[in-house]
Subunit: 210 residues, 2 copies
């Protein structure tokens, strides 16, 4: 366990906590107070870290993702949903308002215009409507006006990410990339967006950077 802690950078007390919570499988006992941990443990521990420490997931959310990863019947779409729900535990706005219904219609129009292959009852449609409805309620019409441009950019990212998942050989490696790509891809893109804001505001305001 000491080596596992050293190689993963996770303190022993935290590893013991993950073991108690069932996030991590016990090692193979070799003596009364000794157990062997393999590469699989290290991999799993890194996944938990990505979800909890970097993605901001709660232990219960990470648990759901890890259970989903171990379920061979689960469709990758549903796993993606679990990963997304675990790292983005946001409250959603009231879905019974006329504003929300208008936002939902706007998303349906977008899907039709872009000929996106999306199931009509897909929960992702409602999540986009949640974000749009909140923009409308807060008077941030700029984001709504630029919806098409956001969608085009998201589609470009998604094309690349799905191709990366499909280029992995086996199902387990693909599923792992679905989860990690969801968490880390969002973090990476978010950080790049902030960096690009700095460049763009300097550029559009005509600043010089020394």
């Amino acid at each position: 366990m000491g080596e596992l802690s050293r190689r993963s950078g996770v303190p022993i007390a935290t590893i013991k906590y993950y073991l108690r919570e069932g996030l991590l499988e016990p090692g193979v006992a070799t003596a009364a107070n000794q157990a062997d941990y393999g590469e699989e443990h290290l991999r799993r521990l890194r996944l938990i870290r990505a979800l909890i420490e970097f993605g901001g997931a709660q232990v219960t959310g990470a648990h759901a993702v890890i259970e989903a990863l171990g379920n061979p019947e689960l469709h990758p779409h549903d796993l993606l949903g679990e990963a997304q729900a675990a790292v983005a535990p946001r409250k959603r706005p009231d879905r019974s308002t006329p504003e929300w219904a208008a936002a939902r219609t706007r998303v349906e129009e977008l899907i039709a215009a872009k000929k996106w292959l999306v199931m009509p009852g897909s929960p992702e449609i409602d999540r986009v409507a949640d974000a749009l409805a909140t923009c409308l309620a807060l008077g941030v019409t700029e984001l709504v006006d630029n919806l098409d441009a956001y969608a085009a950019s998201a589609a470009g990212i998604a094309e690349m990410e799905v191709a990366a998942v499909l280029s992995r050989r086996d199902a387990a490696a693909r599923l792992e990339l679905v989860v990690l790509g969801t968490v880390l891809g969002e973090a990476l893109f978010g950080a790049l967006r902030m960096l690009a804001h700095q460049h763009e505001s300097a550029r559009q305001l005509g600043f010089q950077v020394e």
Copy 2:
């Protein structure tokens, strides 16, 4: 306060809590148990909701953003940093490792190649390095390989968002869009990315959607 609660959709108990925590200014007292709340209160309340309920910020984070909004000396860049820190309270990886240093160098090369106008000591550079280093530590090389494409996409989004901020007339309205755009733009883009994943996996796997 009853009307403020009805119009904002925030329960009275929550409004009282925000008042006690100093997130919301008291209304103008009109009688012993009565106070008037104006449009400014409604606007502020919606901003707090966006930060806390939709962006997942903590009360202390929302407090920092609201204080920053009231500070006329603060540069919009720093306000953006406050907003981002409030809604993304992620643990960062160890910055003393050789892997992190390699990731940091990769970000510097990206900035140079794209000729981005970014201050050399900007904290956003470190945040991108955090995300990249975590990808490398977890063996998710696909995201690192696609860094240029992520950056190009982030630049497109940022160009549009900065233009929207600059098209607002007064400083207060601009600052509000900086904060709300950071929170809601990320939520909107994230939801669209998930929706686009569904389309792309159906398309690349050759599925039909009925």
